[in-house]
Amino acid sequence: MDLSKFLYPTGNYIISNNAKSILSGPGILEHLDKIITTKIIGSQINEIHDSIICHSNGRILDQLKIYILNNKAIIINNNVNGSEIRSQLVKGIPWNKKITVIDGDDGIISYRVVGSNITKFLDYVGINIIELKGNMWKEYGNMIISLTIGTDYEILDILVPIDEKSSIEHIMAKCNIIESTIDNWDMMRIELGIVDYLDINNSIPFDVKLNHLVKLNKGCYPGQEIHARLESRGKINNTLVRLRAKSDHNKKKFKIIEGGKITIKSTYKSNEMVISLGIIPKKYENMHSIETVENISFLIEKLD
C-alpha cells in the first residue's frame, strides 16, 4: 500500500476522542507507580511516560501516555472512556494524601498528526525536533507537543485547551496538514502498525507487542503476578501482526490448519483485500502465510 499521499506533503491529523484526565497534588508519581505496569518514580518534569494499566487477571484495561508536569500529570488514555481508570485512581488515593483526579474530557483536545515531514509544523511553532527526542514534551503557547518516531513516519501528539481549537487548526492548514477521515485514519494506522485501543483491549501485553511496557522488577501492580508467571514459564506464545487476505471476511476468529487460532482486532478493506491487525501464535510470525480451516489464506507481515 502506497501511503505517500497521506504522509506527504506534511501529514494527516485526527482529533482523537481518547479520555483525558489530570492528576494533581504531591506524591502523584508514587500513587501512579502502584497502579501502572512501568516504573514512573524518578521521571522528570517534561518527560512523557508510556505505560499500561491492567486488570488483576493480567489483561489490558488501557494504555496510557502520561505527561509529567510539576505536581501534575496529564493522562491520555487509548480508550475513549476514562471513567474506569479515573475511578481506580480515585479509590486508591490514601486518605491522608491530597491528590485530585480531574476529568479533562471537556477541556482538552488531543490531536494526533502522522506524517513524513512534520518538521514543517515544528518549524512553524519554533521547536527543534531534537528537543522532543528522548520522550520529552515541549510547550508552545498553551499547547503541549510530543513526538513518536516510527520507521517511515513520525507522530506528533498535540494537546490543546478546547477554546484554542481554531488556532491549532489554522496552523495545521498553514503547514499542509489535513484532517483525515476515520476510514483513511484506520487504513493509515493499520498499514503503519499503530495500535489502537481495539487492538489491545483485554489482551495480555505480551500478545500485542507491549512487552516493553511490562516491568517485572518494579514490584507489585495489578496483573503483575500473571505477567511474572507467563514470563518465567516461557508462556509468551502469541504476537500481533498485520494480515492480508484476498477473501472478504467479517469474522473475528479463525482456526489455523496447523493448529492455533487467529484473532482479528481491527480491519480495513481496500481493492478486494482485507487488511487487519490480528493476534497469531508466535511460531507463525516469520512465515509468509497461514491457511485457515475456513479456507482463507492470510499473508503475514511482522510489525516493528
Binding site: 497502579i35 488483576s56 475511578s87 486508591g92 490514601p94 486518605w95 510547550e139 498553551n142 507489585c220
Partner: protein
C-alpha cells in the same frame, strides 16, 4: 497557561466514590491486641483502617494508630472503648471486613478478611 497550570478553564473533579455505612466485625483476639498496642491512649488515639492503591489485586490494607484526626469524612466504630475510623472514600471497599489477630511466629499479626473482595493475592495483603 491553560494546560500547564490548570488556569484558563475549569474542569470537573472526578469523585465517583460510593459511600456506605460501614459495619465491621472485630474478634476478641484483635480487641486484646489493639488494647496492648494502644496502652492507655484510648481517649486521644484511634485505629484508622484504610485501603490504598497497591499490590497485585489493586488495593492494599493499611492500619495506623494515630491521634484522632476529628475529621467528619471518617466513620467511627467503637469497639470495647477503642475508636476505629474508616474514611468515607474507603467505606465501600472495607464494609463487612473482619479484623482478626493471630498470635503466631509465621504470618502472625492483624489479619483482615474481606467478604466483598472479588479477589485477593497470595500474600493476603492485596485485594480488589
Amino acid at each position: 497557561m491553560g494546560l500547564l497550570d490548570g488556569s484558563g478553564f475549569s474542569l470537573p473533579v472526578f469523585e465517583e466514590v460510593e459511600i456506605v455505612n460501614v459495619k465491621i466485625n472485630v474478634t476478641d483476639s484483635a480487641i486484646d491486641a489493639m488494647k496492648k498496642s494502644m496502652q492507655d491512649d484510648y481517649d486521644t488515639h484511634v485505629l484508622v483502617i484504610s485501603a490504598e492503591a497497591g499490590g497485585c489485586s489493586g488495593y492494599l490494607y493499611d492500619m495506623k494508630i494515630t491521634e484522632n484526626p476529628n475529621d467528619k469524612d471518617f466513620q467511627r466504630i467503637d469497639v470495647d472503648g477503642i475508636g476505629i475510623l474508616i474514611h468515607n472514600k474507603d467505606s465501600s471497599l472495607l464494609n463487612g471486613i473482619e479484623l482478626d489477630y493471630k498470635d503466631t511466629l509465621m504470618g502472625g499479626g492483624f489479619q483482615i478478611k474481606n467478604p466483598t473482595a472479588e479477589r485477593e493475592c497470595g500474600c493476603g495483603q492485596s485485594f480488589g
